[in-house]
Symmetry: C2
Subunit: 307 residues, 2 copies
């Protein structure tokens, strides 16, 4: 935890700490996915392909950072961080399917249904969702008390269901070709991506078994704003970046004729909105003790990143 305690550290120190945790996440995921050769091999390969393809590990980082703020050791956070990343990977597999966003590339690699086939991709997503809940509920994998394991399952399940991530994806698809208001766009993103980011913070906090429900609510408030700021910055980066930089076809939303923060607010105001959200997020941390330096840097980084 000492890595995260200096408020005056340089952003490269922050980024290197993030990289360390991204590596930790990759190891934790590897440990929690089946060994090579398990039957059916194609399914396990597809699950690994989708989970272990790198990525920013932003959600895992949120689990680790919020858990450590509350005094949890990293070992206690490996399972919730992995569960969240498995759910994120499942959602990307399904979002990329021909019936949904129909994307062939993700992070510069063929999407799961291109690398394998559509049926295997659908089932790999399904099985990743199940595995996430299995890990969270298991006393063997999740060393918190029964009470907190059940709370973690419930919080994650609610965040990713019809009122959360899955519902947000439906609204996103139904919005193609429609000019959304900024409130409509925000509501969609709060469900589609925000709810899982919030759940990441909540699971980190719950894993500590030391926070009041009021402090958990503060973490939620922080994460909701950081999540939205992250999404707006994604829209900004998608707008200004070329395919090479992002590793996916840039401007996919424009191609699908979808509203974005940039299309509604313009580039400059989208950026300012993200910065305001990051500031609001940081205010939520005031009530959460002295160990908030990393979460503050995280909020600032989210809106200043270039990738």
């Amino acid at each position: 935890m000492s890595n995260f305690e200096s408020d005056g550290r340089q952003s490269e120190g922050f980024e290197s700490a993030w990289k360390d945790y991204a590596r930790r996440t990759e190891d934790a995921l590897t440990e929690r996915l089946a060994d090579d050769g398990q039957v059916p091999e194609s399914l396990h390969s597809a699950m690994k392909y989708a989970c272990l393809g790198g990525g920013k590990r932003f959600r895992a980082m949120m689990v680790y950072a919020c858990g450590q703020l509350a005094g949890a050791k990293p070992e206690r956070l490996d399972t919730p961080a992995s569960a969240i990343e498995m759910v994120h990977a499942y959602s990307l597999i399904h979002d990329d399917l021909p019936a949904m966003d129909d994307d062939d590339l993700r992070r510069g690699r063929p999407t799961c249904h291109i690398k394998f086939d559509e049926a295997t991709a659908i089932l790999a997503g399904d099985a990743l969702q199940s595995r996430a809940f299995e890990l969270l509920a298991s006393a063997g994998w999740n060393p918190v008390s029964d009470n907190y394991r059940a709370q973690m399952v419930e919080a994650l399940a609610r965040a990713i269901g019809a009122q959360g991530m899955a519902g947000g994806q439906v609204i996103d698809m139904q919005s193609a070709g429609i000019n959304l208001t900024v409130e409509g766009l925000q509501g969609m993103h709060e469900m589609k991506t925000g709810a899982l980011i919030e759940a990441s913070a909540v699971l980190g906090g719950l894993a500590s078994e030391s926070l009041s429900s009021n402090s958990i609510l503060k973490l939620s408030g922080y994460a909701r704003r950081v999540g939205l700021a992250f999404q707006i910055t994604d829209d900004v980066l998608d707008y200004i970046s070329s395919s090479e930089q992002l590793g996916k076809r840039a401007g996919a939303d424009q191609r699908m004729n979808k509203s974005t923060y940039v299309s509604i607010l313009g580039l400059q105001q989208a950026r300012e909105t993200a910065e305001n959200l990051a500031s609001q997020a940081i205010e939520f941390l005031d009530a959460l003790g002295d160990n908030t330096a990393f979460l503050k840097q995280l909020a600032k980084f989210v809106v200043s990143r270039s990738y």
Copy 2:
């Protein structure tokens, strides 16, 4: 429970008790799915369409019967029964997709992706899986202790993941056009359908909070054999029935060129195998007290049913 206690009752009494529990399941599911008008409406409608379309409710019946054997009141079993049926409904939605079995009809009605669209169907399945775990983990919906709620989540999640239901579906698809041995076919069915039926029995037993782990294992052993007998009888009925009787295109497995118990063993030996399994299942009940009449009838019914 007194409904189930008479060993000498007629099969019509058994079937009427089953119908009562199927109705109870329908009510429990309705209560646990979102009210009309919830956003996104299409997703909630698709979830309801898939869950409330009738069906035998065999898995819910297994939850109720095993829970009641162990002394649990029906109110204690409504949530696990609903969670199991939601997972079953999700699996049918995804199995019916064009990328998988590509079925247009199920129980005489258009399948979910025909009635809605493919994206909505995929996401309705995803959200039903999440909702099942949310309900099981929630103290508000599942009135058993933390310890048992976490165990229920873990048992269900393991049963439906890559080593269970989802893995079985992959193996089933990969088996099209291949002549399986009877062992290969059994292994596939134990994953694809058996694991969820076993989980139904286990969740019923766990909900009672009164069974030893040895008794839970006996319930597993019973349910595994009943599940396999159920599947073999499905193959038999699929072989001999017309579309009208089953409400789906009969002979779908033949059309896909898939091995079935009838294609491997022939009609007569398939029937005998199912009957032997039902007898073995009943032997597991000997160690489970005096209240096993209904589960015995259930095992017998599974192999003598004509629908």
